[in-house]
């Protein structure tokens, strides 16, 4: 086996805060090397160093046995390295084809038919079923993720870095990704893979390197260790085994949606969520779940149908009016719809509480509300004054969750609640959701992670192509049943033409 990449004694700090301490990492041709660690452990930072986005303070890199200095992403690309970024790096206005080939177009004059023809095989390879002519801004975030993957594949790189490529994919696409990864490794490509999902690690990884708090903990052969051992390496202690919640007693109907629809996106959606109940919208990529959730919250103004809260019809749902009625909403696209990137953590967390009059703007007022949340959610670094942009993705998610916990709400709409969140924190968040439900909060969520759906939900509503196609009770739900409803495989051959 040839060594593709070797990172030695890497140190990196940001304005005095040590983020990577003496980390080492190697990558062989044809292997999948997983990088594991809690949120904020330094995984993305290490990967960005390998991709020339950060210069290490000290330490050496070599590619293919030759020492290199990477000053920019283009240096890294010249070395045959490609990267799928944790935060999507696509150009919304350009088409799929343009994005896939960006920086790699060849000659100056563009021919769209040729570009599309060039791109189509890569789309097929990753199983993305959209026209290469579609502007990326029209795609769901999951489809965008697949575009990113297609782009990395199209680069014909020797080394592909994947920073949480599955964080917004559903089972179906993840399977596609597995296939792609295996095809690539078979051709001798080395893949660095970051994920918080152990099943993916188990399915793909040859070796695993674990970071904790920026420290190199060790590298092991995946087949030689158990999941529990990995978790212990990651968090430095044993995690208590997870159990699902006891059967909850749902209360009165909190949310009642009737005949919700919008041309081109979804139609005729009716559902109820009771106090103290967790209801999940499951389905494939592009099934319309996000749109339904947004329509209920009034985030997009032009949906047909009625929304009732506690028996009261909401005339024109808008985020402001829903918030005042005790509804919370966590969007799917954290970067564009969740955080205010240049504001501090505390400000990001207090946005809603201020409007509800729960807190003033004085530091002391905020601290009283912010600090408990940061503690409870285990946000790291535990500094309310850090700019949120500087937090790791998982920690940003926790801050947004904290926003609604601090403000308090009686109905919480969550789109992909644990996107990019590590095992330990995920357990915390599950416990939190359970806890909220127990306190009588109604929760309607969208999740593409089937284990999560099964772990959290009292009821599961499955969507396909913009319509509700089935309802499963916790007792008789299983991954297979959800999937077959979602794909239409088990239908009694119902109506097909939807949208």
């Amino acid at each position: 086996m040839t060594e593709l990449l070797n990172a030695h004694h890497i140190h990196k700090s940001f304005s005095g805060v040590q983020v990577l301490r003496d980390v080492q990492f190697t990558l062989q041709a044809g292997e999948v090397h997983a990088l594991l660690g809690e949120n904020g452990a330094g995984k993305s930072t290490l990967l960005k160093t390998l991709f020339g986005m950060h210069r290490p303070d000290s330490g050496t890199l070599s590619v293919g046995g030759q020492p290199v200095v990477l000053n920019s992403p283009s240096d890294a690309q010249a070395q045959g390295i490609a990267m799928i970024h944790q935060e999507l790096a696509l150009i919304p206005e350009l088409t799929v084809a343009q994005n896939v080939l960006l920086g790699n177009e060849g000659q100056e004059v563009l021919s769209y038919p040729r570009m599309e023809a060039r791109v189509q095989p890569f789309l097929d390879q990753v199983g993305l079923n959209v026209s290469p002519r579609t502007p990326v801004k029209r795609l769901t975030i999951a489809q965008q993720q697949m575009v990113e993957i297609a782009r990395a594949v199209a680069r014909q790189a020797r080394i592909i870095i994947m920073d949480e490529p599955t964080s917004s994919l559903t089972t179906h696409e993840i399977e596609q990704l597995y296939r792609v990864v295996r095809e690539l490794t078979a051709r001798g490509v080395g893949i660095i893979y970051v994920s918080h999902h152990f099943d993916e690690i188990e399915a793909l990884a040859d070796r695993v390197t674990v970071l904790r708090d920026g420290q190199y903990i060790g590298t092991v052969n995946q087949r030689d260790v158990t999941q529990d051992q990995l978790v212990t390496m990651m968090v430095g202690r044993d995690l208590v085994a997870q159990v699902g919640p006891e059967r909850r007693q749902p209360g009165a109907v909190r949310l009642w949606v009737q005949g919700l629809g919008r041309t081109g996106a979804f139609a005729d959606v009716s559902l109820r969520v009771h106090a103290g109940e967790v209801v999940t919208l499951a389905g494939l990529i592009g099934a319309g779940r996000t749109e339904v959730l947004r329509a209920i919250y009034g985030a997009d103004a032009d949906a047909a149908g009625t929304v009732q809260l506690d028996g009261q019809a909401v005339a024109h749902p808008s985020p402001a009016s829903m918030m005042r009625r005790g509804v919370g909403f966590i969007a799917e696209d954290r970067r564009h719809q969740g955080i205010v990137p240049d504001a501090r953590v505390s400000v990001n967390m207090m946005l809603t509480s201020w409007a509800k009059g729960k807190a003033g703007v004085r530091e002391a007022d905020m601290r009283a509300l912010v600090e408990p949340q940061m503690q409870q959610l285990g946000i790291r670094p535990a500094n309310p004054n850090q700019t949120i942009r500087r937090l790791s993705g998982g920690n940003q998610q926790k801050v947004i969750l904290g926003r609604w916990l601090a403000a308090g709400c009686s109905l919480l709409l969550i789109d992909e609640p644990t996107r990019g969140i590590d095992v330990a924190s995920k357990a915390d968040i599950y416990a939190l959701v359970d806890d909220l439900a127990r306190q009588g909060v109604a929760i309607l969520m969208v999740s593409s992670e089937l284990p999560e759906v099964l772990r959290l939900s009292d009821r599961i509503l499955v969507m396909r192509e913009g319509r509700l196609v089935g309802e499963l009770d916790r007792a008789d739900a299983s991954e297979e049943r959800i999937l077959s409803l979602a794909t239409g495989a088990d239908t009694h051959a119902k109506d097909s033409a939807v949208v």
């Binding site: 005095g16 990137p341 504001a343 946005l351 003033g360 700019t387």
Partner: protein, 323 residues
């Protein structure tokens, strides 16, 4: 425990970096003042500081505060000069017709508020681009001001008004005091109120704020109203100094105010703003003008020098702040 220590340290560092921006401009300002005091005859005097630099800086500062708020949300207000003219001629006309001064002042401020409100509603309700909205109203309000007075200046303002706003307190001219007070008030508003925090957050990511259940449109509209009222106030201060109001007053105010704001550290893409910086920026620009005049630099070379110094100051600022 180490964590906590670490955080409070890094918090201080963050705060320090924020301050550095102001400090950079302040340093340039102080450095400039020292150098000029030593080299430029009659630069260093109370009279020059007050009349040569202070008044124009004061007017510009007052306008720039409002623009800073608008810019922080990611908007722009080109109509400030015309709004100022419109408020000024209406206020002055009412005074001349014998309306009690205080009432006339309130009406003038209300005119500014309405002008700002119209801008704000066009931006938030009709969702037009702020640039094009205020470009349109810049022309429109100017037309209103001119047709209201038929193009004539209004010359005789009541003495009580001129004395009230034109006087001094403890040796400081009232315009300067007013500007300083407003800088203080709007700094506090920005840092210590919900409104201020929302204005900043909206500039950072309006969609995220909207989805947090905040009525984003209302806050954006508010910034345009603030901008309109402050433009009207600046005009009221100015006409008290001039003793007269004319409909062509205020042309070019938008550029000077934007320049003061941006030199002072406000980012035109929103989300970042600094009211004290606007004051410092206005002072820097006025000082520059003042020195060039004292040195007898001719108009064409003044242009060269002004351009070069604006860019020079920004470059220095850039490198003192570090990367």
């Amino acid at each position: 425990m180490q964590k906590t220590q670490l955080s409070s340290k890094s918090m201080n560092r963050a705060a320090v970096i924020e301050r550095l921006r102001e400090a950079g401009i302040l340093a340039i300002l102080v450095l400039g003042a020292v150098v000029f005091s030593a080299t430029v005859p009659s630069f260093f005097s109370v009279d020059n500081a007050i009349n040569g630099i202070g008044l124009s800086a004061a007017i510009n500062t007052i306008v720039a505060i409002g623009l800073t708020y608008v810019i922080m949300t990611g908007g722009i207000d080109l109509s400030v000069g015309s709004t100022a003219a419109l408020s000024a001629v209406i206020g002055a006309d009412l005074m001349q017709r014998g309306l009690p001064v205080l009432l006339a002042v309130l009406v003038a401020l209300a005119v500014g508020a309405v002008a700002g409100l119209v801008n704000g509603l066009l931006v938030t309700r009709v969702q037009l681009a702020p640039f094009i909205v205020t470009l349109g109203t810049m022309t429109f309000y100017r037309g209103l001001a001119l047709s209201y007075t038929n193009g004539q200046p209004i010359l005789s303002l009541p003495d009580v008004y001129k004395n009230a706003l034109g006087g001094t307190i403890a040796g400081l001219p009232i315009p300067l005091l007013a500007a300083l007070l407003l800088v203080g008030a709007f700094t506090l508003l920005l840092r210590y109120t919900k409104t201020g925090q929302y204005v900043l957050a909206i500039g950072g990511n309006a969609e995220a704020v909207r989805l947090s259940g905040i009525n984003v449109g209302r806050y954006i509209t508010l910034t345009y109203v603030i901008s309109g009222v402050l433009a009207a106030f600046a005009a009221l201060v100015l006409i008290a100094q001039l003793g007269a109001a004319e409909p062509i007053l205020g042309s070019g105010w938008e550029l000077s105010a934007i320049a003061a704001s941006v030199v002072g550290g406000t980012s035109l893409s929103g989300g970042k703003g600094n009211v004290v910086g606007a004051l410092l920026g206005a002072l820097l620009l006025s000082m520059l003008q003042n020195v060039l005049t004292l040195l007898g630099v001719q108009a064409f070379y003044q242009l060269l020098a002004t351009g070069a110094i604006i860019i020079g100051a920004m470059v220095i600022d850039r490198y003192t702040r570090g990367r």
